[in-house]
């Protein structure tokens, strides 16, 4: 059976939802004729026409504002930010308006904002950032990041069907580096459900996005040493699947919180807060955070490599924690 890449899985997911539901449309910069900077919307213009595949001027704030307006008026917009980094230009519209509509006036905003995020592509400070936290921190928004092609397709479809605004973070490095055979036919992956990607008994690694693969690699390397790692892929970062988080923490009693995003104010802290409050009695060792250091994302290979959390670092920390 043919394998489908992560990027193609997202494309298929959007495509299928557009076939299913006339109110779904895509909008963004360079997404129609060009098919998007990463080709996620390739071919859609030809299939769905100009009204449903909308190229816009270079105006992130207007894209988000217009998406929100369209959602209020009965459509289901799927917006593309060319790079997640530039979502900062629409920050006010997202956090002050879209996120608060349901609470303020009971208005659903069934909108997805897709954003290619993450590093390891030599993108430098402006094209490599992980931007989940300000959105995780905004009540009213949901935040999703798939790690696999299967989840990418299932989660984008679930996000489009969801009646709340969803920030859908796509990892640029995974676009073409992961693939798998996908089921034919319609399926979705539910939001706010984490998934154990590898079972283990000694240490839990809680993570998401590209780092799921880094964690799995580390787990593989640690197995022969008799260190059994459980890898929990959060998949949805807000609202978090607290019960899966607490369950794995209680099971192994030792937890590593791993993310590509920078350390301070990253999701690792939130996870530590949940676990240290609600599973404290089960813990047999410190909660260990592994993250990028608190710097912009550097460009040069030597620096970017040192910046990004690696399987080596996870292996070393896990060994240390296992001796606790």
């Amino acid at each position: 059976m043919a394998e489908t890449t992560y990027v193609e899985a997202i494309r298929q997911g959007i495509w299928e939802e557009m076939e299913r539901d006339e109110s779904v449309f895509v909008m963004g910069e360079d997404i129609a004729v060009y098919g998007g900077a990463f080709k996620v919307t390739k071919g859609m213009l030809e299939r769905f026409g100009e009204m449903r595949v909308v190229d816009t001027p270079l105006s992130e704030s207007a894209i988000v504002g217009a998406g929100t307006g369209a959602a209020i008026n009965g459509l289901r917009p799927v917006l593309e930010m060319q790079f997640a980094d530039f979502m900062a230009c629409g920050f006010d519209q997202i956090t002050n308006f879209a996120a608060k509509c349901r609470y303020r006036w009971g208005q659903a905003i069934p909108m997805v904002i897709r954003a290619p995020a993450g590093g390891n592509i030599h993108g430098g400070p402006f094209h490599s950032q992980n931007i989940e936290m300000p959105y995780v921190h905004t009540p009213g928004l949901k935040v999703v990041q798939p790690a696999t092609a299967y989840d990418a397709k299932g989660l984008i479809k679930a996000s489009i069907r969801d009646n709340d605004p969803v920030i859908f973070l796509e990892h640029k490095y995974l676009y073409r580096s992961v693939k798998e055979a996908l089921p034919t036919g319609d399926y979705t992956v539910p939001l706010s459900k984490a998934q154990v990607q590898r079972e283990g008994s000694d240490i839990s690694i809680i993570t998401y996005g590209w780092m799921v693969h880094v964690a799995l690699e580390a787990a593989e390397r640690l197995a022969p040493e008799g260190i059994s790692i459980e890898v929990l892929d959060l998949r949805t970062l807000m609202p978090l699947d607290r019960s899966s988080i607490l369950e794995t923490a209680r099971k192994t009693s030792k937890v590593i919180l791993l993310h590509e995003d920078t350390l301070t104010g990253g999701l690792g802290g939130e996870l530590a807060g949940i676990i240290a409050e609600h599973a404290f009695d089960y813990l047999d060792g410190p909660l260990v955070r592994i993250a990028a250091p608190d710097t912009p994302v550097p460009f040069s290979e030597t620096l970017e490599k040192a910046f990004l959390p690696s399987a080596d670092r996870v292996v070393r920390k896990a060994r240390w924690l296992s001796r606790f």
Binding site: F25, M51, R52, V54, T56, P57, S59, S61, A62, I63, V64, G65, A66, G67, T68, G69, A70, A71, I72, N73, G74, L75, P77, D92, Q93, N96, F97, R102, Y103, R104, W105, G106, Q107, A108, P139, G140, K142, D162, N163, D164, P239
Partner: protein, 332 residues
């Protein structure tokens, strides 16, 4: 005040329409007075308190043309737009007083109100943010091939915001059915026009988006009504957005706590002679032989409706703290 191109011939207006316009202007005026000068001072209205005193002609002359399928995005000085959409003084008063029967059920305050059923987007505090949102509302109308349109309201201050620019440009490029009513009341909070921009007419900025525009006397409801008719016809016909700049003046502080000492007395006095309600009444007397008694009766009716609504609203409960965390996400 001049129009961009040809002068427009004055259309006939009937007296029924004028009475309707007058009713909404009076209701807005009196309701806001009641809120600001009584309820706010009595501590029944908390937080900020903004009014559109002197600007009533703008929402009234335009929103009166709206159809049920249209959407409106009023600014904080356009209460009458809500009234025209069928939102009641009861609901508005309960809103201002943070009661659960207010339009936002106490979650938001004072003029931050709107209503999905009646197609009014509650104001977005970030000034200018409603411009792109109007674009999306209008986009959905084009998407479905409707002849509905969006009425967007904003002030001179909003025209300094990036969102204003992005939103107007996008509307022009995507040919969206929007009528923009810009209330140029010459101040953004304490900042006079000449510290906001080096031009005198905001409408001229709009030429840079390739969009038709007009400049009208914002205190003359009939002028606004006429210009709005042209704009609405343009937008409903699928010819894209249309911009109307209404020259007016904020006959109050920025909000209830602001004495507006920064406004030169002469300027305030000049504009106080141009009260939009008195202007319409004069037009009705001179043009259609209406007599004072009509106005007295109308005002009486307005005041008694307000009276009734105030006592109703004062009886409404505050929201139950147990509901605090509801409605952040869809409950499933």
């Amino acid at each position: 005040m001049s129009a961009p191109a040809a002068a427009h011939p004055r259309t006939q207006v009937d007296r029924g329409l004028c009475e309707s316009l007058l009713y909404y202007m009076l209701m807005m005026r009196e309701l806001e007075e009641r809120i600001e000068l009584k309820l706010y001072r009595q501590g029944k209205v908390l937080g900020g308190c903004y009014t559109g005193r002197g600007q009533e002609a703008i929402p009234v002359g335009s929103a009166i043309l709206s159809r049920p399928g249209d959407w409106l995005t009023p600014s904080h000085r356009d209460m009458a737009a809500l009234l025209i959409r069928g939102i009641t003084p009861r609901e508005i008063l309960a809103q201002y007083m943070g009661r659960v029967s207010g339009l936002t059920r106490g979650r938001d305050g004072n003029m931050h109100m709107g209503c999905a059923e009646r197609h009014c987007v509650p104001i977005i505090s970030s000034i200018g943010a409603s411009i792109p949102v109007a674009g999306g509302l209008a986009f959905a109308m084009r998407y479905r091939g409707e002849s509905n349109i969006v009425f967007n309201y904003s002030g001179d201050g909003a025209s300094s915001r990036g969102d204003w620019h992005e939103g107007l440009n996008m509307a022009a490029v995507l040919n969206l059915p929007i009528v923009y009513l810009c209330n140029n009341n010459q101040y953004a909070y304490s900042t006079p026009l000449d510290q906001q921009m080096k031009i005198s007419d905001i409408a001229h900025r709009v030429a840079g988006y390739g969009m038709p525009f007009e400049i009208v006397d914002g205190n003359d409801v009939l002028q606004i009504h006429e210009a709005s008719q042209r704009a609405v016809a343009h937008a409903r016909a699928g010819r894209g957005p249309y911009f109307i700049e209404c020259k007016t003046f904020r006959m109050s502080g920025h909000s209830a706590h602001d004495a507006a000492d920064y406004v030169p007395t002469a300027q305030r006095e000049e504009w106080s002679r141009r009260d939009p309600i008195l202007m319409l009444q004069k037009q009705m007397v001179e043009g259609m032989g209406a007599d004072e008694q009509v106005f007295v009766n109308l005002r009486k009716r307005v005041l008694s409706e307000i009276e009734e609504a105030v006592s109703w609203a004062l009886d409404q409960p505050f929201p139950d703290p147990a509901t605090l965390e509801d409605d952040v996400y869809e409950s499933v």
